[in-house]
Each structure stands twice: as C-alpha cells, then as structure tokens.
Symmetry: C2
Subunit: 234 residues, 2 copies
C-alpha cells in the first residue's frame, strides 16, 4: 500500500513556494492589527514591540520578528508608527483588496457570518448565499440573496469569485466543495467537521470547533482528575 507515501510526498512537493512567513506569525498579525487600531482610535501614533507584547502576552522579540515579515521598519527608541504599521499589516494580508465570497448553508452559523458586517474591514465580502432548502431559497438574509445551490458553479465562474465558505451540515460539505471547485473557486473556508477532498491547488482552511473543544475538555479533565500518570506501562 503506497497511498500514504504518495500523499505525504505530494504534500511536501506542494511546498517549494511555501509560506515565507510561519503560520503562527500569520495568525498573530490580526491580533496586532486589532490592538493597533484601538491605539489609533485613542490618538496614539507611535508604539514599541514591548508594549504590544505586554498587551498580548508575548515577548518583545517575537512581536518584532512577526512585524518584520510585513516589511515595516521601525526606529530605535521610538518604535513604529502606528498608522504605518496598520497599513503594512493590511497590505501584507491583502486586506486592501476585497475578496468576494459565496457562502453555502444558511443555518444559524451561516446567518451569523452573513450578518457579520465587520468582515468587510478585513477584506471579505460575502456577496451571496446558497442552500438546498427550498423554504430558504429566495429569501434575503442580511441583504444577501439566498440562491439554489445549483447556480453556484455558474455564478462563481461568471463573477470570478475566488472564495467559498461552507457552513452546511457535514454530510453535504463534500458535495458543496465539489461544486465550488467546479465553479473555479480557489480557496475554501470550511466550518463543517469533515476532511474535504479537493485538488491540490485549492486552499482549504478548516475552522474546527472540535479541535478547540478537545483542548478545552482535555485541560479541564486534567485539572479535575486526580493527577495520575497518563500512560500505563505494558
């Protein structure tokens, strides 16, 4: 059986033009951004890594390294310009160019995302929603039309939509992903707890609530359980 070998090999081969920024740093940038916007609102114009780090519980060096990826240049003693920093992060993350997205699955979660106006500040605009439930189709939710899933592929192609958001039940997720791929969608933000099978060039990010839940319950169990050894000897 060589399937596994092929798979892992593929994964590695896919990465030559791999991220020039570590994934964890990428994930921290929005946090810096959020804090910086707050500062800007307060009229503060310069900031140092130490202060940012103190606020977020990170050491100054790490903050500095993360920020360096955005290409920003600071000045000794004074630190960075807040405005420049915000700009640098937004540019780096591509938040200046809006990504238009389709969302599939207008349940509670889907509705929540559709109504999240703040996304537009972070380069995301959900332009339409899709569902298979005929009672939902035709409705308008948060000013977005709910269309039948069958139209997704065609519309995505014609409107050059690059991003798809999956908030449908797990059972339907793979079929939805297939439709998205057919419509030329490049990246999928997947909220369904399923491993999607898509071509290699498609970017998939899973928002896996169960992972978080696992961490939490493990830590809680650990805290309230009498401290026993985790592994039994054979």
């Amino acid at each position: 059986m060589v399937i596994d070998i092929n798979l892992s090999t593929l994964q590695r081969l896919k990465r030559p033009e791999a991220p020039s920024i570590p994934q964890p740093s990428l994930a921290r940038l929005p946090q810096y951004h959020h804090y910086l916007v707050d500062l800007a609102d307060k009229g503060i114009s310069r900031i140092s890594c130490s202060v940012i780090g103190a606020y977020l519980g990170l050491i100054p060096v790490q903050v500095r390294k993360d920020l360096q990826y955005t290409g920003i240049i600071g000045k000794p003693k004074t630190g960075y310009s807040v405005a420049e920093l915000i700009q640098a992060i937004e540019t780096f993350l591509g938040w200046n160019n809006i990504n238009e997205a389709f969302l599939v699955g207008v349940g509670n979660l889907g509705t929540a995302l559709l109504g999240h106006e703040r996304f537009s500040k972070f380069g995301l605009r959900i332009v339409a929603a899709f569902d298979t439930d005929s009672t939902k189709i035709g409705q308008w939710i948060h000013e977005k039309a709910v269309l039948p899933l069958e139209q997704l592929a065609d519309l995505a192609q014609r409107m050059s939509i690059h991003l798809g958001i999956i908030t449908c039940p797990a059972e339907a997720a793979q079929a939805v992903a297939d439709e998205m791929v057919k419509g030329g969608i490049q990246a999928i933000w997947n909220f369904a707890p399923v491993k999607l099978r898509v071509p290699d060039h498609i970017i998939v990010h899973n928002e896996d609530l169960y992972s978080t839940l696992a961490s939490l319950s493990w830590k809680l169990a650990r805290r309230f359980r009498v401290p026993v050894q985790e592994k039994e000897a054979v």
Copy 2:
C-alpha cells in the same frame, strides 16, 4: 519598563505542569475520532495508522505518535481495535464526563451553538444562556433558558459550572469574562475577537476567526499578486 519581562516569565513559570501532549496532536485527535466512528458504523473493527493517515493526509508515523498519547496499544500487522481506539480517545479527552457550560451572548452565533446537539457527544452540554438584552431574556432557545447576565456568577457557583462560552460582541466580552471568573468558572471558550484579561489559572481558548481569515486572504493575495519580493531592502 519591566511589565513585558514579568509577563513572559510568568508564562513560562505557568507551564511546568504543561501539556504532556503537543497542542497540534491534541487538535488532531478529534479528527481521528470522527473517522473512527465512521468506521465503527460501517462495522470495521480494526484499523492501521497507514489507512487513517491516508484518509486525513498525514503520514503513518505521525498518526501513530498521536495515538500513543492516548495510551492505546496496537498489535503489529493488525493495527488497532477501532472500538478500543475510540474509547481511548474519548477517555483521554475527557469526553466521557460531561462538562456543563454557560453561554453568554444570544446572537446568531450563540444561537447556532445552543442548537448544536452534537456537542453532547463530545462532552459538552450548554445548560443555560445569558444576555443583557431584555427582549431576549426570558425566551427559550433550543430548550435553553435565556437569563439575565447578572445571575450568571451566582448560578455558576451554585451549579458548579466550570466552562463559559462567550459569543457576545467584543465590547462586552471582558465584562462577561469578569463575571465568569467571579462565578468560579475555570475555562473560557471565547469567540469574541478580544484578548481577555483573566487570572493565570483560568484556561482561555480563543476561537479567532480573524486568524483564519488572515491566512486565507494572505494566501489568496499571494496567489493573484504578481510574484514580487516580499521585503524591500532598506
């Protein structure tokens, strides 16, 4: 200014009894679990790391290492017992003992979580919801009562609730967290895009949509931008 030094030092001091399992492994366990339950439903009773890995896009060694943390023991050639493996993961993650939780913020997202029946399979039961909006208080959403936030601390204490879920707007999140701490809650699952300030012994997990969004938009921007160098020389 020594705040930062103290902070980072604290973080390290907090960790002596740190996770005996890497965070990424912990996050993968639910995925294995999900797949295994599917297998069990199909009547398959034994499984090898290679097959699990092939399904999830991981190499067999990694799967094996992850599973070892749960204390499971496999047999050469045959692999693991599916049933034992499921049991081992559930026990390890503490999914057998139900965690009762309070949820604060009955917006779309909060409602979505309240309605998510599957959580109960993963050791989570949301027993009540809270809000400050008087039009929501008194309602029942998915068979859970919506109570005024003021009652949270008292009820949490009397019912020995250990877990709090924050799905309210960012502005209110810190105040809610404070209430939770006052009520003796040990762990917080935070969906608000805010860095919460809580005592050291409180476990906080942020479900940060913006981090994911940042990754996605960076990768999309990178794909569609002409490949230029990321950093300008000084």
